[in-house]
């Protein structure tokens, strides 16, 4: 199962040759850099009202994307909102993976009661449409960026756990694992050294996808008004302005950029996920068209 042995190039090299995935990665990295570096460089203040420019000012030299209903610079809010959205997406995905991988490993390797209860827990969580549970939990615990990350992260582990679980089941009875076990290696050592490396690759592909979903969930929540806490911005809360017909039809500069950012980011994350899948997958090489 070790991919390196069978293929001429390492997954890393394969990923680098994947032009689409690399483009997605570069865009995402650029986006991260812009979002985190531009505000301090340009001295942008996302939460200060410019009473001279007024509420809902049109784009100008001073405010490239105009101001919002509170007179705050929209470019600054777009960038700082991007920090929030990206951080929420990435950290929720990280929490999901950090939970899902060990739980999946335990369920698949130790089986028995572990398997039963972990998989039942996954069944319970997966019985709910995720947005329903997230909506209830965030609304009831009080909307804030931290709560959103926690709720999205804590509920997102099931998919990853199932992936790891399935793979662990096939790996655990393979001869070399049985051999290592017979040599008397401790359980945690086997799990870390022998099982984990063999089941982890699909997780790498699903993390970007999870991050994309988390960004979408966060934007839905913020749009519905149960998202992050004011005056903080996120891309979803910026699009909320477009619920007002006047803004939607008359001020595209207020909502088009955040909408484009969400779509672009999610697409890039999906592209990276696809690229990782192709690079790490030893059996099915790429689909003929992609």
């Amino acid at each position: 199962m070790e991919c390196h042995a069978y293929l001429p190039r390492s997954p890393r090299a394969r990923f680098r040759r994947d032009r689409r995935a690399m483009a997605c990665l570069i865009i995402l990295v650029l986006e991260l850099l812009l979002v985190f570096l531009l505000p301090p460089l340009l001295g942008l203040e996302p939460n200060i009202s410019d009473m001279e420019a007024g509420f809902w000012a049109s784009p100008s030299q001073e405010h490239w994307l105009g101001t919002d209903g509170e007179g705050r610079d929209l470019l600054a809010r777009l960038l700082c909102g991007g920090q929030v959205s990206l951080l929420i997406g990435l950290s929720a995905a990280a929490i999901s993976a950090a939970l899902g991988v060990p739980l999946g490993l335990l369920a698949g390797y130790r089986r028995g009661a572990w398997e039963f209860w972990i998989m039942r827990l996954a069944d319970i969580v997966q019985s709910f449409p995720s947005i329903v549970l997230v909506l209830c939990l965030v609304a009831l615990t009080g909307p804030s960026a931290l709560n959103i990350v926690l709720v999205l992260g804590l509920l997102g582990w099931t998919g990853i756990a199932r992936l790891v679980y399935g793979n662990t089941l096939t790996v655990r009875d393979q001869e070399y694992i049985v051999a290592v076990r017979a040599l008397g290696a401790s359980r945690s050592l086997i799990l870390r050294r022998n099982v984990l490396p063999n089941v982890i690759s699909p997780v790498w592909c699903s993390i970007p996808l999870r991050a994309g979903r988390a960004i979408l969930s966060e934007s839905s929540l913020s749009f519905l008004g149960v998202g992050i806490r004011t005056p903080q911005a996120s891309w979803g809360s910026l699009i909320k302005a477009a619920a007002d017909l006047t803004v939607l039809t008359g001020r595209p500069w207020a909502w088009l950029p955040p909408a484009a950012c969400i779509i672009l980011t999610v697409l890039c994350l999906a592209g990276i996920g696809d690229g990782l899948r192709d690079a790490l997958d030893t059996r099915n090489r790429r689909m003929p068209d992609r």
Partner: protein, 520 residues
């Protein structure tokens, strides 16, 4: 493949058909939107006690009078009224043509029985405290055993209400008319008071109002039918459909022709008004304030009145009002509604340096205050946060729903919160309920100075003497600053030009003249 193509084509055909189908509007339907749901159709059993429930019950049940936005009164269930017993009572002469939807005539007996039943301690009525002005009831509006209840049928069409303190008919009706409905008590005969609220009747209610109940999807939609025999005239349409919809949907729906009217205005912004006018929508500007914004303070956690006054000085009410009401409002220093009988000479101004001085005087230790607001006011809260920051007061904002906001204020969890109210015409419309033992939401440690003044104002009949007391109360409030009055706002109201004769402003008293509405 053929089958699929056929399916595809027929689906496409169906969709085009539907899209080009006739303009589905039946000519005699008025489509009425509102932003929040009513809860029940039993007016005395409403857990929320909200204006949304009141304005819906206003259609099905009849009230004593119709209150205009400026406080003037028109007959409704009662054709006329006069003061009696040296001002301790009011006699109502009921309209003899009024009848319930089942044909039974409305008599004074119905009114007296309604009040007797709802004040009966065995009856689990939720909104009972509305009756606590009547003689023979306690502070919660429950009848006191052995005392005569202040509601009696003098003859078939004469109802007499007796009060605890001298009350003019006008004061009573301005204050309580929106809460007094007549119930079909003839249908309740033989039901124990404790079981009245469980009756199926309230899910398909019979009232004596201008519209009859047809069908309800709780929380979403209510279909009502014109009552052809309404004693003030038959509404000029057949069906009224009330739908709960988000405010953001108001304008698109009006412009797409899916809506005729939106209750309580929906706070159309000045710019949206432009869009609306271009789309052929009627936009009316209110002449009477219909919203009062306040910053609620927690007097326990912000215990120094100097700090509370500093917060007041640090706020730029003009900018806040401009932001939220887009100039359609007047910043204020008091809770007295402009244009009403009693006024105050107090003024407000922003003074950041003065605020800083007061902060030093009050011993502000730089602690961070929590400001709660609902999500639609988060922009306003952010502006306040900045203005307070200029005076070195740090604030964090919690965006919560209104239930959490009020529970958090009541529990002392928040230091301040933004709230808005429908202003009343009486000088105590705001203060009386806010400064009472049962509802001390500002956490004032000693209510007695307020309650004493309030009681005095209530006991004084009017004129310069009452004005002097009102001034005294306002000065006390300015000194102590238990809450900060922000501004009185008027709103822009949008309605489709398909319905005539709407007296929209009066909805601030939770009544609407639906029987006079006509379709064009």
């Amino acid at each position: 493949m053929k089958k699929l193509t056929a399916l595809f084509l027929s689906l496409a055909l169906l969709l085009t058909l539907a899209a080009c189908g006739p303009e589905g509007k039946a000519a005699d339907v008025v489509r009425y939107g509102m932003s929040n749901a009513w809860d029940t159709l039993m007016p005395y059993n409403s857990p929320s006690g909200s204006n949304y429930t009141r304005i819906v019950c206003d259609k099905i049940y009849d009230r004593l009078a119709y209150v205009h936005a400026d406080g003037s009164l028109d007959p409704r269930g009662a054709a006329s009224w006069e003061s009696a017993d040296d001002g301790m009572a009011v006699v109502f002469h009921l309209d003899e043509k009024a009848a319930f939807h089942d044909g039974t005539a409305v008599t004074a007996e119905h009114w007296a029985d309604t009040i007797a039943l709802m004040t009966n301690p065995d009856c689990p009525a939720l909104g009972r405290s509305v009756f606590n002005v009547l003689a023979g009831t306690d502070d919660n509006g429950a009848a006191i055993q052995g005392e005569a209840l202040g509601a009696e049928a003098v003859d078939e069409y004469t109802l007499k209400l007796t009060f605890k303190t001298p009350t003019t008919p006008e004061d009573f009706l301005l204050d309580r008319n929106r809460e007094f409905y007549v119930l079909p008590t003839h249908l309740l005969d033989g039901t124990a008071p404790s079981e009245v609220m469980d009756l199926e009747l309230w899910e398909a209610p019979v009232g004596s109002g201008p519209l009859k109940f047809v069908e309800e999807i709780p929380g979403s939609q209510l279909t009502l039918q014109a009552n052809p025999d309404y004693h003030l005239g038959r509404p000029g349409f057949d069906t009224l459909v009330i739908t709960v919809m988000d405010k953001s949907n108001l304008l698109p729906s009006l412009m797409a022709g899916d809506l005729d009217y939106y209750a309580f205005g929906g706070n159309l912004s000045v710019e949206s008004a432009e869009t609306a006018r271009k789309g052929g929508i009627e936009v009316l500007e209110g002449t009477v304030p219909n919203s009062f914004y306040e910053l609620m303070l927690n007097n326990q956690t912000i215990s120094s009145s100097a700090i509370r006054r500093a917060i007041d000085l640090a706020l730029d009410k003009d900018a806040l009002c401009l932001h939220t009401a887009q100039g359609l409002g007047e910043p204020t220093a008091t809770d007295l509604t402009p244009g009403t009988e009693y006024t105050s000479s107090l003024t407000w101004n922003r003074d950041v340096e003065g605020a800083k001085a007061l902060l030093a005087e009050g011993g502000y230790d730089g602690s961070t205050y929590t400001l709660a607001c609902t999500s639609n006011r988060s922009g306003l809260a952010a502006l306040m946060q900045q203005q307070l920051a200029e005076a070195d007061i740090t604030v964090t904002i919690e965006t919560v729903d209104s239930a959490t906001l009020f529970s958090g204020m009541a529990d002392g969890k928040y230091d301040m919160a933004i709230a808005s109210h429908t202003p009343g015409a009486l000088p105590l419309w705001f203060t009386e309920s806010r400064f009472s033992e049962g509802n001390n939401i500002f956490h004032v440690s000693d209510l007695s100075p307020y309650t004493a003044l309030i009681a005095q104002i209530k006991a004084t009949s009017g004129g310069a003497e009452r004005q002097a007391l009102v001034d005294q109360l306002q000065e006390l409030l300015a000194q102590e600053r238990p809450f900060i009055p922000l501004w009185f706002g008027r709103t822009l109201h949008a309605q489709s030009p398909t319905v005539d004769n709407i007296d929209y402003p009066s909805s601030s008293f939770s009544n609407e003249n639906v029987w006079e509405w006509t379709l064009k």
